[in-house]
């Protein structure tokens, strides 16, 4: 009993440490107290960052930014499974796709856990240790999840959220420009996000949209999204939720704005106006072998979870693309629906 109490006490202590330190990153960045401070000379409108080698300006039909889930560790797409899903989406879209996944969403300044950090070695060690475990429920994973979860809370907080989300929007914007997005082109921006990345995307979209004056679509894969003011700004949010995803039940408890008792919440307004759509996907769980990225778990029709999810994502993106340009690109949409 005493061991259990000690473990619980330690867990609570860790939770508090992560919770109290999470807002400091955004606050230090904004106030100029930390070394990684916001630099106005990097303003989006002031100058364009150099293009990534081999990429030309305005060369893509779809500019797609992927934000990883709270299990993410660096600015990459999070893992092979996530990249594989994105490639499936890319293959199903009719047109050139610029896939961007170099933004770590749980840092205001795109500073990954193995970046310029005091506890860099600790995060590296945790990442190395978790590679040995197949099971995602390990203490090594949980420490990273807990840390990133607190940053989702920062984004959802009405006090810290504006600062944090503005910083993230700035980093997403910089990455878009590096990958050839042409400012002023009014081309739609697509944000695909897994889990807590959903909140980060909607939060960032609040500022991304006015800065680029471009339509923004957020696609959540089990997206955990609060009653964020960004829901009033973003043009469309499509959230895919597995019927066995725990957040389908937990989200209304975490975010009271989701309850139908509060019809004037930003969430419910967005739903009423059709800007927020939830698509239920059978049998998919949030974590584990039956998650959104699974290529081994197949449904009755023989398609894997990754195939089903990529089809829905691509179809929704194509629909939005069509709505934006008001094109009669019916054949593509029909093909994707089929």
């Amino acid at each position: 009993m005493s061991i259990l109490a000690t473990l619980l006490g330690l867990a609570l202590l860790l939770l508090l440490v992560f919770a109290f330190s999470a807002p400091l990153e955004a606050l230090g960045w904004w106030s100029g107290w930390s070394e990684r401070r916001f630099d106005l000379s990097r303003s989006l409108t002031a100058s364009l960052p150099p293009l990534v080698e081999g990429i030309e300006r305005d060369g893509a039909d779809y500019d797609l930014v992927y934000l990883t889930g709270i299990i993410g560790y660096d600015e990459g797409a999070g893992g092979k499974r996530e990249v594989a899903l994105l490639e499936l989406v890319e293959a199903r879209l009719h047109g050139r796709v610029q896939l961007i996944h170099d933004v770590f969403p749980y840092s205001v300044s795109n500073n990954p856990l193995d970046g310029e950090r005091v506890f860099r070695r600790l995060w590296q060690w945790l990442d190395q240790r978790r590679q040995y475990h197949q099971n995602p429920i390990t203490p090594y994973n949980w420490l990273i999840i807990l840390r990133n979860l607190m940053h989702v809370a920062v984004s959802a907080d009405p006090r810290y959220g504006p600062l944090n989300n503005f910083g993230l929007a700035h980093e997403i914007g910089q990455s878009l420009l590096r990958h050839g997005y042409a400012p002023g082109s009014n081309k739609p921006i697509y944000l695909i996000a897994y889990s807590g990345g959903g909140q980060m995307s909607v939060g960032a979209a609040r500022y991304l949209r006015p800065v680029f004056n471009a339509p923004v679509m957020v696609v959540g894969l089990g997206g955990v999204i609060s009653d964020d003011p960004g829901l009033s700004t973003v043009d469309r949010v499509v959230n895919l939720i597995g019927t066995r995803d725990v957040f389908r039940v937990v989200s209304p408890l975490l975010f009271p704005g989701h309850l139908s008792l509060l019809p004037y919440s930003k969430w419910n307004r967005a739903r009423r106006t059709g800007r927020l759509r939830t698509i239920l996907v059978p049998d998919i769980t949030h974590f584990g072998r039956r998650d959104y990225f699974s290529r081994s778990t197949k449904q009755a029709d023989g398609r894997s979870h990754a195939e089903i999810v990529s089809e829905i994502v691509a179809a929704q993106m194509a629909l939005f693309h069509q709505d934006v340009y008001n094109k009669s690109d019916i054949s593509q949409t029909d093909r994707l629906k089929a």
């Binding site: 919770a19 807002p23 904004w30 106030s31 809370a153 920062v154 009405p158 810290y160 600062l163 503005f166």
Partner: protein, 191 residues
């Protein structure tokens, strides 16, 4: 007298804890480190002014309804009503901060309620007095002859050298519109 001193210490600690909990405003307004601790004390002073307002309100109400009250007891009650704010540092927690602040405010009103009951008031009168005090703090901001916000802003400016803090969302909007961080306006010089 020792009770009064103890209450005063508790009040100061609670005010300090709440100010730390609400320090997002200081960071958001880019208060430099050299001014940061002065700004914390400016917040403590603002809370003291609120406490003075509460004291005056209760003294007037108790006198008007013809109830006997002692200066020392009322002072102690006003000071210890802020004891829930000893947990004010928890307001810093992301996402949970605002609900925690509401709970602490409820706790403050409960202390007033219990305290006034101990003065010998009946439950209904006590409830009306506590509710009225809450309402009056909102109403006195709209009085034509006094602007408490202006007074608090002046104190803030005097101590920190910066105008009253702005809401973080407003600051970001300002940056988006102008491309510049919010810069406090210079005070007009007398010369």
């Amino acid at each position: 007298m020792s009770y009064l001193l103890g209450s005063l210490i508790l009040f100061m600690l609670a005010a300090l804890s709440l100010t730390v909990g609400q320090s997002v405003v200081l960071f958001a307004n880019r208060v430099p480190p050299s001014r940061f601790f002065l700004s914390v004390w400016a917040s403590v002073l603002s809370l003291m002014i609120t406490a003075v307002g509460q004291f005056i309100f209760l003294a007037l109400v108790l006198t008007l309804i013809g109830h006997d009250w002692s200066l020392l007891a009322l002072l102690i009650l006003v000071l210890i009503s802020d004891v829930p704010y000893l947990l004010g540092f928890l307001v810093f927690l992301p996402y949970l901060g605002n609900p925690i602040l509401r709970l602490l405010r409820l706790g403050e009103n409960l202390v007033f309620f219990v305290g006034l009951l101990s003065f010998g008031l009946d439950a209904l009168t006590t409830a009306v007095v506590v509710l009225s005090m809450g309402l009056s703090t909102e109403l006195w901001r709209h009085l034509p002859f006094i602007d408490p916000d202006m007074i608090l802003d002046r104190i803030w400016l005097l101590i920190t050298g910066r105008p009253a803090p702005e809401d973080p969302a407003v600051l970001v909007e300002h940056l988006l519109e102008t491309g510049q961080f919010y810069q406090p306006e210079e005070e007009p010089s007398d010369t």
